[in-house]
Symmetry: C2
Subunit: 342 residues, 2 copies
């Protein structure tokens, strides 16, 4: 029997493979199924998450500087820990690299990793460096700690909770479109210079995303613990569906509440793309998507970098996007395995 991977979404595949896996160690508090595993050792509660970026899937070295790649690989794993409301502390980094790479290019990669470590106050404590026959792979494991009462999982959203998201969405996807366009033009005519003026924001969001430490810090200073949280890696639609599926709830979000930057809207126009589609399905935003009780409304509403985009409903109400004039569209979460997703 041979079932192609392409038939399953990424979450579906992980769910399928993890279905038979049981945990038995007392130190395992939470296994597969969230942004990070939760471990209890002595009087400490730890979180650990691992992410792989693969050449040709998650990045293209023709337009991705090695330094940015190192930074981004770190941010992707660090973001998973913020999505648990945890504090990242250490990184382990494994790379598989073909002999055609220079020592200098790996130095740049490590500069980027170190830059992320400095910015988010982590230590790079270990790793592995392997030869690779084809392609470049980087795997980052992030380890951190969390107070047990602050752990924020995907499966604890409650009916009536507000759905909130930090920053804006869809920019990283459009940055990728710009970079791909310039690559194509360069391939057709090698005298072409890449034209990135006016696209600094969207390209920056693609090449050098930010993990929302500031939002994690805000939760701490506001004395607030979200009821559920995830980072937006696959796209708002997929990631919101992950919360709803895990929490067994429905949701209703509103088109005009979804935050999209000016430059994203303008760039989307050039590519004949709906900004909404980029926000819903683009992914790689690494913003925090979370739910809070209505009682927390006042704490959220005053912040420019947080948007309330809807609310959690009962499971039988389904998951819907309201587009105005009473129209509603059912939210489709998962995309197929062979598309970009991290």
């Amino acid at each position: 029997m041979s079932t192609p991977l392409s038939g399953l979404g990424k979450s579906g595949l992980i769910r399928h493979l993890a279905a038979g896996i049981k945990t038995s160690q007392p130190s395992t508090l939470k296994g597969i199924g969230d942004d990070a595993a939760v471990l209890g050792y002595g009087n400490a509660t730890l979180v650990a998450a691992t992410d792989t970026l693969a050449e040709g899937v998650h990045f293209d070295l023709t337009y991705t500087p090695m330094q940015h790649l190192g930074y981004k690989a770190a941010v992707v794993a660090i973001s998973d820990l913020y999505a648990m409301n945890a504090i990242p502390r250490q990184l382990l980094v494994s790379i598989a690299v073909s002999a055609k790479f220079s020592v200098e290019s790996l130095e740049l990669l490590y500069l980027g990793l170190q830059h992320a470590c400095d910015q988010y106050h982590l230590d790079l404590v270990g790793g592995d460096t392997s030869p690779s026959i084809t392609g470049f792979y980087i795997n980052v494991t992030a380890i951190g700690e969390v107070l047990p009462e602050k752990i924020t999982c995907r499966n604890t959203a409650k009916k009536g909770d507000l759905i909130c998201v930090s920053g804006d969405l869809g920019a990283a996807y459009l940055g990728l479109q710009v970079l791909e366009r310039e690559k194509k033009l360069f391939e057709e005519d090698a005298s072409m210079q890449p034209q990135l003026t006016g696209y600094e924001y969207v390209v920056g969001r693609q090449l050098k995303p930010t993990a929302r430490k500031d939002i994690s810090d805000f939760f701490a200073s506001a004395g607030m613990v979200p009821t559920a949280m995830i980072d937006v890696s696959a796209g708002l639609a997929s990631d919101l569906m992950r919360i709803c599926t895990a929490s067994n709830v429905g949701c209703e979000i509103h088109h005009h509440k979804i935050p999209v930057a000016e430059e994203t809207i303008r760039t989307a126009g050039e590519f004949f793309t709906e900004p909404l589609i980029a926000a819903l399905n683009g992914g790689e935003d690494y913003e925090l998507l979370f739910t809070v009780p209505v009682a927390e409304y006042e704490k959220i509403v005053g912040r420019q970098d947080l948007s309330i985009i809807g609310y959690i409903t009962a499971p039988e109400d389904g998951c819907y996007l309201m587009t105005g004039h009473g129209n509603r569209i059912e939210i489709q979460g998962e995309r197929s395995f062979d598309r970009l997703s991290s």
Copy 2:
């Protein structure tokens, strides 16, 4: 400037890249430079190690069953924790896989991972599944715990210590030669059946190695803490040199004391290979190489599965293999980056 990777050994490359990296988190007790990082959280001391296996470098899917690959990937990371004298507890697994793989083949991979988890009493707690354009990559991070007084590093061997190794060496390398020979014969004539009878031991050591939990248990029950330890992944010569370099000591080991299995010797003969060379440079044995004070001699000497192969000398004495009749050969550690090593 462009310096090729092939000019540096694997340890040399990691040392080079890690040279500028400083740690500042109080929870980081030991960073890059040993089999695993050591972390202190609350009253617990943890260890974490990460390893990547790359298709075409560390394994060939034409003769590596997916179930064995999963098992081996887990063992490689678990072995790193035993080499710290720690107890492995959790695994995080990332795979990058092309869409041509079937769901069933990944199920087999996870069966192998689960089998290793069952055998060594670990939980599989998380991971990532990415698309890959070319090749199959598997990264395993192992997390475990250790009593602070039992942590065994590479850099603490002392002059006069006995050098000991578990099991036997060189078999995994010769198992690889047998598998490569059968693959070649099959490629020349597809009606050929692989002939593995008589090679079960060496092939088994290549495809399904063992992490020496039993030796770690022996240290605990004997109330013994090695002065230094490493697992034999790159080969006895390289791994012993890692201990000597990190500890700033010399060593003298004896040819006829190095444990090599009967089947390894016989198979080496067929391939016109010296069994000694396979033991020194073959790698992938995942035996424990450790040093103990002479006072522990009695505890070691009675065990069939431990061999005392030499002793630690002063740094100015260098690192030598004694071959009998007073001949001695300087031990060369590092191999170049583009050769197999993990």
